[in-house]
């Protein structure tokens, strides 16, 4: 009886390892630094895509943000993104942006850019979602 339970435990460990293996194979963090990560709202994982650079400036008194995304895998990944703009009190500015699709080929880098709806916007977050192709 003891032997059967040992065998059962060994098999269970093997199956658990197999089930979690795909998740373990995707260790790419969504952002290259904690500062960038704080500006992202990611649904699940970015499937190997990483935001490596994030910068913002005010042009004509309107906030403009640019992020560089890099696909660190060899697979093509389609991401969906949109910017969320907030005012000094943390309230949303505008009605919310449309989700924008962007195909990033394996090992490719792409810029994404957003412009706030007006001078009221003082802060932002980037909402992202990804699907493997």
């Amino acid at each position: 009886m003891k032997q059967i339970s040992k065998q059962f435990a060994a098999c269970a460990a093997l199956v658990a390892a197999c089930i979690t293996a795909p998740a373990m194979a995707d260790p790419v963090p969504n952002a290259s630094s904690p500062g960038i990560a704080a500006k992202l709202i990611v649904r699940g994982t970015l499937e190997g895509v990483q935001v490596t650079d994030l910068r913002s400036q005010r042009k004509n008194d309107v906030m403009v943000v640019q992020a560089e995304t890099v696909n660190l895998t060899n697979r093509d990944v389609r991401i969906y993104y949109r910017f969320r703009w907030t005012d000094a009190a943390g309230m949303q500015v505008g009605d919310g942006e449309v989700w924008k699709p962007l195909m990033i080929l394996g090992q490719q880098s792409q810029f994404i850019k957003g412009t706030a709806y007006g001078p009221q916007a003082t802060d932002f977050k980037i909402e992202m979602s990804a699907e493997p192709r």
């Binding site: 032997q3 199956v15 309107v62």
Partner: protein, 204 residues
């Protein structure tokens, strides 16, 4: 032999259990609208890929790009007056270009960076109201809108949308390009211009 058989049985049981657990794991959905045989209220900001004809996502992406580009430009520094003129539809589809321009106008008005004057389409209603206030004899002088005080637009926003369609036996590729120009009405020069390109490919 008995031991091997019991080992394989227990392994099969665990594998079955593992597979059942895997099947129960829910995948995250994507912000897309897919063709489904039911009606639901969906996310108006989701990426619509029901067909590859001009759709809501194209309209919204064009408007966002144009508004963002205009707001960044110093041409809007002193809150100028602007009016809308037509957008020529040079595609093979019916596209309500007025709707694109209305979305752009809404965002620009809400930004408080531009003042829009009545477009040619909207002028008659304004003239009718002015005549009613000034010629009907119904209104007292105080607070009456006077004739001759309308602000003229410094700039006019106009453009065109074109498409290139390529089709093979099982693939259809549509390329849209929307060009928008901001003309200085007095001297006729272009003060700002931008384009938005969209490629949509579908397979049977």
């Amino acid at each position: 032999m008995k031991r091997i058989s019991s080992l394989s049985k227990s392994c099969a049981l665990v594998v079955l259990l593992g597979l059942t657990l895997t099947a129960c794991q829910t995948k995250l959905s994507q912000p897309t609208v897919s063709l489904a045989r039911q009606t639901t209220y969906g996310d108006t900001k989701a990426v619509e890929t029901v067909t590859n004809e001009f759709g809501s996502t194209d309209l919204q992406m064009i408007a966002e790009k144009m508004v963002g580009s205009l707001l960044e430009d110093p041409v809007l520094a002193n809150r100028p007056t602007m009016t809308l003129t037509g957008v020529r539809n040079k595609t093979s589809e019916y596209i309500d270009t007025k709707s694109i321009m209305n979305t752009i106008q809404t965002a620009l008005v809400k930004s408080r960076k531009v003042k829009f004057t009545r477009s040619a389409d909207e002028m008659q209603q304004g003239v009718d109201e002015l005549q009613r206030q000034n010629q009907s004899g119904l209104y007292k002088a105080q607070g009456k809108a006077k004739v001759g005080n309308m602000s003229a637009a410094k700039y006019s926003l106009e453009g065109e949308i074109v498409s290139i369609v390529k089709q093979s036996a099982n693939t259809k590729d549509v390329f849209y390009k929307m060009t928008l120009k901001l003309y200085d009405i007095e001297d006729g020069s272009i003060e700002w211009q931008d384009e938005k390109e969209i490629r949509k490919t579908s397979k049977r």
